[in-house]
Symmetry: D2
Subunit: 376 residues, 4 copies
């Protein structure tokens, strides 16, 4: 069986999630390729070595450039802070590596576009880690829509709201600066819901957005009285039109008190509706208008082995899968796509399209008008 | 005790709700005035007489002009189709009557403005029947916000979605024509959520909206193959900014499959949040960010005698009040305001302000730009 | 139209609910008889007069015996404390009056049996105020079961839990004494869920119960340090078998922290299930096992005009009815039954059967064995 | 670091779950020992070899007796059908192995007692796979109770209901026979909720139960018309008293239409309550009666890094963990307990106590009386 040798850059919170997925994926799924946990790169060699040990990788390095150049690496997995994605991906592509990058693909759609072009020219495969569209409920929603069970989609309402920055005394960090993060909550969180919208409804054609930085400065560090300006938005929302004519609204906030994983959507069709919240990730609610008037209602489908991608994890509905299991589905798609040379999605193209929508929202806010995303 | 003699015009669905409220209000509340169910007007005298009998009114007439001119009427209660509100209200005001009108106040904000002016000049009191802000949960939400329990409001998301026109073969009716209804779902449903937004957050300063007529024609009547064009929007949404700086989004649809009473709001503050849906009208969810991190969460408050306006109906939380009970609170406010000569709210001024926001949304859609509501 | 003249005894919490129902019922429903609010009795004539005024009754008295003997009363409505029900009902029956009594019918099933016999001999009609089975959702549940939509019922789980006595310093009151209340939470609350079980599943054949007085003494009055023993149970549960072979469990508590109106049921059939909680009185959840495995789930039916008894109150699903509206349905059944001389339910016979089940549970606890309810 | 070498017997549904846990545990947690996936045993050598490959184990065998005797195995993990647990565990203990067994420990409490004694004499450590008490929400519930946040526990209501046998034409299998399964739904499902009750409330002292076989015969195999008698109960419930005086009810069913993972509990204390359902495994609802009356309500805690055992999996609340993650916590406890020679729980003693409660319930049903569990 063909080997797929992974080089992982970055071992923070999301790097760990990747590592967990790598550790279990071969037991969960019967993969078409043989995953090899080859090398870990971290900012210093000691940390890299420790993580390699913890994560079950063969080798480690304190220099990511060494990793991307290593001949025994097939795919470079980028879990570094956002502002490094572009440089690392381009370098990896230069060495002919396939690239698996965390979202957002880059700090701007222009940068993302460059990355798409580079990958295309090099003929390498790409995957962006949008996580939540790998939840079986998302594929189920897509299947329900494709079957026509809710008719034509006419409205999409989606959010990705969290409250990790709700406390005004939460110290500043790299997410708050243009140079290191680009956009604020749009880049960090809204990327997920835009990807979900495009997955479930189709391409976004035009947008009109509004952004706001509510907490204008934050302590330099925990407990400090030195205040540093926040450079990007805490909350944003936008209206949109999809290429199929459907209307949409998305919301995103990093200060939305009480929303811990507020990736939610409500999809309205001409014959029914779907409702979902990631906080109850095992459930999706389906309403069909063609049922008798006295028996209409939202039905709660609890994801189970009859639904996509679930059975390899658990024997019964209600047992439940978690965040890392989503990543495990994502990794399965990566390994199978590389081993069998078949398309992988969401790829850099999708990553760029998401980024373009986000940039269009920001531009719309600046200019106070609707923006056709193709303007960018 | 001062008498407050009611003249009710219109006895359809909403007129019945008023009648039920009139029938029970004196038993539920210790009113400051004596409510007298004086006269009913309907389109023909027989129907008027029958309704007077059913609704417990003393007299009836087939001519609403007779009612508004009657010297033994103190307040004219307008429950006729929307396009008649203005004419009837102006005529009532001309006769010096106080006016209790169903929403929307008029088919346009210009018309509503005329009505406000007329009432002001005549020195009569006015009340608009927005129903849902009389739910004890709304007053409780207002109290929670006023107490600072969720800090400063930074975001409002509100909807009034229903599905009463979701079936494309549901026949055309007066709600679908400009001449009889003005706006579509905005005028019929969004009026409620705009009123709620202004009640809970404050005045809307600017808006940017999008509207769509999804089902472009409908059968002339049940089962007919003659199709008639729909003249106003089936669905709409808008971004807004409030005068206190908060951002907002509202949505409205009359084709939102599965939403039967989708008057919902999520209010985000700097220290907490509130969530509500009228389909679970006895509940409001409160989140406070200042609780210990391992004990944070949305708490479901079940409305009860410790909350505003509930105890006169029921002895305990969870017993529950209904739609007509909201109208009963509204009628209490009417009677007490008239008997004691104190302010009543929401008055025509608020009705006009709601109408102006809705017109601004429609104008924004036409012009593809943000509109300051004061432009209208 | 035949007159039905009401004599109301008792104007506390539940008497008020009756009064509200009387005030609105003729507007809501087209009754078969003409309801007349004739006379109110209270413990002293001043209070009686004040209540008659507030409740819209013609006359009043400080002596209930005068009321039951009055020739212009057709039906005596008993809203007094439980220990007076029997005496008042028997006296009313002696005068040939129909009787509408609040639950529990009496302090023991033996007493209840006497009342049933007296009513039968006198040929008067009776009604017991079980409230919650008049919720449209209950009739809908009965219809769903009767249609076979959930197959044969095999299991019933029901509760009536509240927390009105959860605070150990809540002062003693008449509910806590054998002489004035008989049983504790069983008589006060479980009566409702037993009635619901019998309504929806059928007669209870045998029971096995367990009772407990958790808070053994309470302050004589608010803030007092004089403690008085509690004489009956704070919490209880029982297993049961129904005459159709189904198994059941009921629970009841007056100290169930957080349950404000915990009248809940889960009914399991061979082909589906129903779930309900009175705290969300407008909803019932229906599951059908014959749906495709990947589309199974509990569907939330929101009660609306397509369901029983709802349309006269409101024009649309989700508008919602409240506690007093349930009482209004109950009063409609009373007036129509008396005016048209048709059966009324739940009558004293049902009241007695409920009481017998409760006594059997208490006896089972004393004897530590299953009890056939026919033993009593 | 000390090695802990695993020998896994059985690779069906639950064996796979163990394998997944073994594959990821070292990446998720920093273990105190080095887990080695040493050997797999299956019914035939080919299957065993294939599973060893899939599950990442070093060796395999078609004979479990070879595995339990192998000197390079430290712990025998028993994932075989229930009726084999006892023989395999005793044989493993005879060879001085530690034992990790799936529930139920044995087909009867007498058998379980033998296993407890054997393990004690041999001085080996034991663990029973009860899964759900390793959900972080369970440890959180225990912490909340231990803190006194809900006062003294006075009532426990728990269920483990599923519907995997609800279809009367679902073919017979080993779960339905006394010889292979012992009890029916009690042994298969109720074991979990009894374990949870003992974990959260304390030892069960006495029980009174009722059992029923609703579907008395089933097809020999899918589609067959040959019917085979079902030998054990489809549904059961029991009342119980705990050693601390609290009352309890448990329910269990394998034909409870719509319940896919109906492991639920409601715990009532003198100062508050907790509610949980495994179908929403990331949430637990907490009510505190000492909050102001107008701000009381159930608060939904969404499990996150501030709660026990969650942070190693995910960076934020709402990301969510799944069934296999619970098993991963269980395996962590196993490895750490063996490596550090510290107590592991739930051990065989707890497995036996659960089994004794279940046997007492069945005996109570036969004899129609309360049973002290110490009678067994």
């Amino acid at each position: 069986m063909k080997e797929v040798r992974i080089g992982l850059i970055g071992t923070g919170y999301i790097g760990r999630a990747h590592a967990i997925a790598f550790s279990q994926v071969s037991t969960v799924f019967q993969l078409q390729g043989k995953l090899v946990r080859e090398m870990v790169a971290e900012i210093n060699p000691e940390l890299a070595a420790r993580r390699a040990e913890e994560f079950g990788f063969n080798r480690s390095t304190g220099d990511w450039r060494e990793l991307v150049a290593d001949p025994n690496i097939d795919v470079v997995d980028i879990c570094s802070p956002n502002f490094l994605h572009k440089e690392m991906a381009l370098e990896a592509i230069k060495h002919g590596k396939h690239v698996y990058s965390e979202k957002p693909l880059a700090l701007s759609s222009a940068d993302a576009k460059e990355m798409v072009e580079a990958a295309r020219k090099a003929g390498v495969k790409t995957l962006v880690g949008f996580n939540y569209m790998k939840n079986p409920t998302a594929k189920l929603a897509k299947e329900i829509i494709a079957n026509g069970e809710i008719g034509e989609v006419v409205h999409f309402y989606g959010t990705h709201n969290e409250d990790y920055m709700a406390d005004p005394l939460a110290p500043i960090h790299w997410h708050c600066f243009k140079e290191t993060a680009g956009l604020g909550t749009l880049g960090d969180l809204a990327a997920h819901i835009v990807n979900m919208a495009q997955y479930l409804v189709g391409d976004v054609e035009s947008v009109c957005g509004d952004l706001q930085t509510v907490i204008k400065e934050r302590p330099e560090k925990e407990g400090s009285s030195v205040m540093v300006p926040v450079e990007n938005e805490d909350q944003a929302h936008a209206m949109m039109r999809f290429s199929n004519g459907a209307m949409g609204v998305i919301e995103s906030s990093r200060i939305a008190c009480g929303r811990k994983m507020g990736l939610n959507y409500v999809i309205t069709g001409t014959k029914g509706s779907l409702m979902f919240t990631q906080e109850r990730m095992a459930e999706i609610k389906l309403y069909r208008h063609d049922e008798p008037a006295n028996r209409q209602g939202f039905k709660t489908l609890l994801v189970g082995p009859e639904h996509p991608d679930y059975a390899p994890f658990c024997g019964g509905a209600g047992h439940g899968i978690g965040f890392n299991d989503q990543k495990t589905v994502e990794v399965r798609d990566l390994i199978n796509g590389l081993a069998a040379d078949t398309p992988i999605w969401p790829d850099f193209e999708e990553g760029w399209k998401v980024s373009r929508v986000l940039d269009a929202i920001a531009l719309s806010h600046e200019q106070g008008r609707w923006i056709q995303v193709q303007e960018l």
